[in-house]
């Protein structure tokens, strides 16, 4: 019965890494601007789709991925500059609707340009599975976990060592005070959208060899990413990454041990139960955020 456990764990971690990366993107923007960006899943989709399109157009895989990531980060910046900033101060729920509008636009544009089909990307280093603890692992899964880990370390360094990182943290704590200290809150907001586009796109590009991609994969990923954020405690980047991995493992164990039909329901029931006991997530602070 438990023979499958290592396999479930590995596949859960791989899928969970997707959720975690999406959740990290959510956290970047939320921390700096207080916005829940419902277009976050679209960043992941863009990263994957652009990588596919560029690779099909003849670019070598690493170039295609780097370009895809750069373009998506740019799209993130443009969204902040073109839509979020002009809107200025408004009710958070209005910003939610605006980001929903953005996600519809991005999804629609990709659909119209590249169609409704699903696409694949070749894995980075072959597809011969490795055996780890009795589980068969795609080499790409290791890439995903490794890159996720690297990104986490890089983020940690960014926030603790660089002036921009520290400035973003300051915005997260107190916008007014940050502005008084001479930090441009607008620029930090733009940076956070760019960074979150970057994170999303990296996720999309490294996962597409495993999960395939199409214009509409962002909806589900956005949803799961948000769930991962909440599970880990909104605003905590490490909570977000951990939340993603936990959610992925829950689904996979749910499918393996409970019922594959109700695996998503199983994951959400656990999430709800957790929220009822701990209303601000696993690693969330005691303070609840604004609506």
């Amino acid at each position: 019965m438990f023979a499958g456990a290592p396999q479930y764990l590995i596949s859960g971690l791989t899928v969970g890494a997707t959720y975690g990366l999406t959740a990290l993107g959510f956290t970047m923007i939320f921390n700096t601007t207080g916005i829940i960006n419902f277009a976050q899943g679209e960043f992941v989709m863009l990263g994957g789709m652009l990588a596919v399109v560029l690779q099909k157009a003849g670019a070598p895989l690493p170039v295609a991925i780097m370009l895809a990531v750069a373009v998506t980060a740019l799209v993130g910046c443009l969204i902040e500059r073109g839509v979020i900033r002009p809107v200025g101060r408004t009710a958070p729920v209005n910003l939610v609707i605006i980001t929903i509008g953005i996600s519809i636009l991005l999804r629609g544009a990709v659909m119209l340009i590249w169609g409704k089909d699903t696409f694949a990307l070749p894995p980075f280093s072959g597809s011969a599975p490795l055996a780890i603890l009795g589980a068969a692992v795609q080499p790409q899964s290791l890439w995903v976990l490794l890159i996720t880990l690297l990104l986490l370390v890089a983020l940690k360094l960014f926030f603790s060592r660089t002036i921009h990182g520290k400035a973003m943290l300051a915005c997260a704590c107190e916008q007014k005070a940050a502005a008084l200290m001479g930090i441009s809150v607008d620029r930090m907001a733009m940076l956070s959208f760019g960074l979150s586009g970057f994170l999303g796109a990296v996720g999309g590009a490294i996962l597409t060899p495993i999960t395939l991609t199409s214009y509409d994969v962002g909806v589900m990923l956005g949803l799961k990413g948000f769930a991962a954020c909440i599970l880990g405690g909104l605003g905590n980047p490490f909570g977000a990454a951990a939340g993603g991995l936990i959610l992925g493992v829950l689904e996979s164990f749910g499918a393996g041990f409970v019922s594959s039909a109700y695996k998503d329901a199983f994951a959400f029931i656990v999430l709800l139960a957790l929220l009822f006991v701990k209303p601000t997530g696993l690693f969330g602070g005691p303070k609840s955020d604004r609506v």
Partner: protein, 318 residues
């Protein structure tokens, strides 16, 4: 005179609902209007919850669906009379809301959004997977057309007038709830839970009340929907629809009953107008959402108010 002025909005609304079918170029549009009424019902309840009491729900499609499936199963599978099925549908929605309210409404902001979202997804998974009960992903066939006291609502026009009447009554109820001390308590909770408590308001009870009330609105819409379409499928009650409902609330105008009606009618009929743009319609839809929120942050209701104020000022000046 005072009474007339106070109720002018309701009277005008009744007239508009009653006369709307005459203005339609084609019978087909009656069906669009019926859907508008259903959505307006749910959105009005959701606006009581979100706009007035400030409690986000991203799972209201579930209450709509619970009622629709309950009346479907009661009437088609169990063979119960239609009014019994409909009552059961609304009761199930209300009961689930009542049970869910206690643990859920302790949460705030994004955590509350997540909890309601999760609830909605769990329910839609059950609709999808409990094939024996719900017919599964391809849907539940054979729900009888609405029949009350021997009168069958065969024509769409009759069904429209029934839905419009229900919507009108719901509007009246909403206005009266909002105009009472309960309404003030709900608005107080929206702004400051601690101040509301300090005024002796039992916030848990009030939150539960408005949550259940909004579920009842969604439930009524769900039962009407099931007996109109005579078919229900899980895809109508998913996350996507919950988000649409939220959009209708915000676009119409938070904390405005007329805004709820305007938002639901506008967004439900919008695709009909966008059809001429074919596939590009999705871009226009997304763009419109953004533009509305940028230029009318208080929604259609707020926008209309601003225009009215400007006109008034203009008249005075002129």
């Amino acid at each position: 005179m005072g009474l007339f002025r106070k109720n002018f909005g309701l009277l005008a609304f009744a007239a508009a609902l009653g006369l709307a079918p005459l203005a339609l170029p084609n019978d087909y549009y009656i069906n669009v209007l019926i859907l508008c009424c259903f959505n307006a019902l749910i959105v009005m309840g959701l606006n009581l919850l979100m706009g007035y009491a400030g409690q986000v729900s991203l799972g209201h499609a579930a209450f709509f669906g619970l009622a629709a499936y309950t009346t479907a199963i009661s009437t088609a599978t169990l063979g119960l009379p239609i009014p019994v099925g409909m009552l059961a549908g609304v009761a199930v929605s209300a009961a689930v809301a009542w049970l869910l309210a206690v643990p859920t409404l302790k949460l705030h902001g994004n955590y509350l959004a997540m909890a309601t979202l999760g609830f909605g997804i769990i329910v839609s998974i059950v609709f999808n997977e409990a094939v024996g009960l719900t017919g599964g992903p391809s849907g539940f066939v054979g729900i009888p057309r609405l029949k009350i006291a021997g009168f069958t609502f065969t024509s769409d026009k009759a069904y429209y007038f029934l839905s419009a009447a229900v919507l009108w009554v719901a509007t009246l109820v909403s206005r009266r709830v909002i105009g009472s001390r309960t309404g003030r308590a709900l608005r107080a909770i929206h702004v400051s839970e601690s101040a509301a408590q300090a005024m002796g308001i039992d916030i848990a009870r009030h939150k539960r009340f408005v949550f259940v009330l909004s579920a009842v609105y969604a439930g009524v819409a769900g039962t009407l929907y099931a007996h109109h379409l005579t078919f229900v499928a899980p895809s109508s009650f998913g996350f996507h629809f919950s988000v649409q409902l939220l959009t209708m609330v915000v676009l119409g105008g938070m904390a405005s009953i007329w805004g709820a009606v305007a938002g639901a009618f506008f967004l439900t009929s919008l695709p009909e107008f966008l059809r001429m743009f074919e596939e590009v319609d999705i871009l226009i839809y997304g763009g419109l959402l953004i533009a509305c929120m940028m230029f009318m942050p208080s929604g259609l209701a707020g926008g209309a108010q601003a225009i009215a104020r400007k006109l008034k000022a203009g008249v005075r000046r002129g």
